[in-house]
Symmetry: C2
Subunit: 126 residues, 2 copies
DNA sequence: CGGAATCCAGCTTGATACTG
DNA sequence: CAGTATCAAGCTGGATTCCG
């Protein structure tokens, strides 16, 4: 019964959605392993609260691994799980479409602010 | 410089994100062309306001086409644009990952409510 | 250092009513 | 039929403070 091919889209989207999840994932993809403070530093506009919350959600979904070193000062490292790495091709597909979309909007002379986030995301590095 | 492969992910995600966008897209993918009232009927929990708003956004992004028939009573039909159809493989990729994810969670015995939406989405058909 | 807890502003969504 | 307008509720994300 291959009925509704979109139901799981929402399931998957919930994992990727959230203002900072893509950025966090990107960091972990490109840097492999990062400490909490490193993530925080690389994502200058995120608050601890949000970084913690997003990481927890990703951890609950078995996308990221949280390694705690019992030392003082505390040291916690985050990395993608093997399973989390299966998201990479998906993110690439989404990213590729996103690039085409930007071009498409330019071609269509749709220069209006159709994607307000581009304006609000003063986040710099990505 | 294949630096940040995620920047456009957010651009793309904005288009797919929104409580009802995936459902609307699915409807238009599987039914090709639908009237406003048909969409409304197939998405029982959506309000006119939200349906209108989401369709407007998709229209602004050139994902859906809005065809107005000047008759009484009014008749408005929605369909995917050719460009909007380029989203289909992306949605399929996301959906495929979503399916694997559900299986993965089951295997991991992660039977906790990691995706709260499953509880809140009392929407039925999808 | 890596959080947790609290409080709060704003946007998103929903309910309801009205219209051409 | 296909919306628009208005108002209320809820959730998301941000600022701040405190803790082991």
């Amino acid at each position: 019964m291959e009925e509704t091919p979109s139901c799981r889209v929402e399931t998957a989207l919930e994992i990727l959605t959230g203002k900072w999840k893509p950025s966090i994932l990107l960091e972990l993809i490109t840097h492999d392993t990062l400490r909490f403070s490193e993530l925080k530093r690389n994502l200058p506009n995120i608050t601890q609260k949000m970084l913690t919350a997003q990481l927890r959600e990703l951890e609950l979904n078995d996308i990221v691994h949280r390694e705690i070193y019992q030392v003082v000062p505390p040291r916690v490292e985050y990395s993608l799980t093997d399973y989390g790495k299966t998201l990479i091709p998906v993110l690439n597909a989404i990213n590729a479409w996103g690039e085409k979309h930007v071009e498409h909007l330019a071609q269509k002379d749709m220069l209006q602010d159709t994607t307000p986030t581009l304006a609000s995301s003063t986040s710099d590095s990505f």
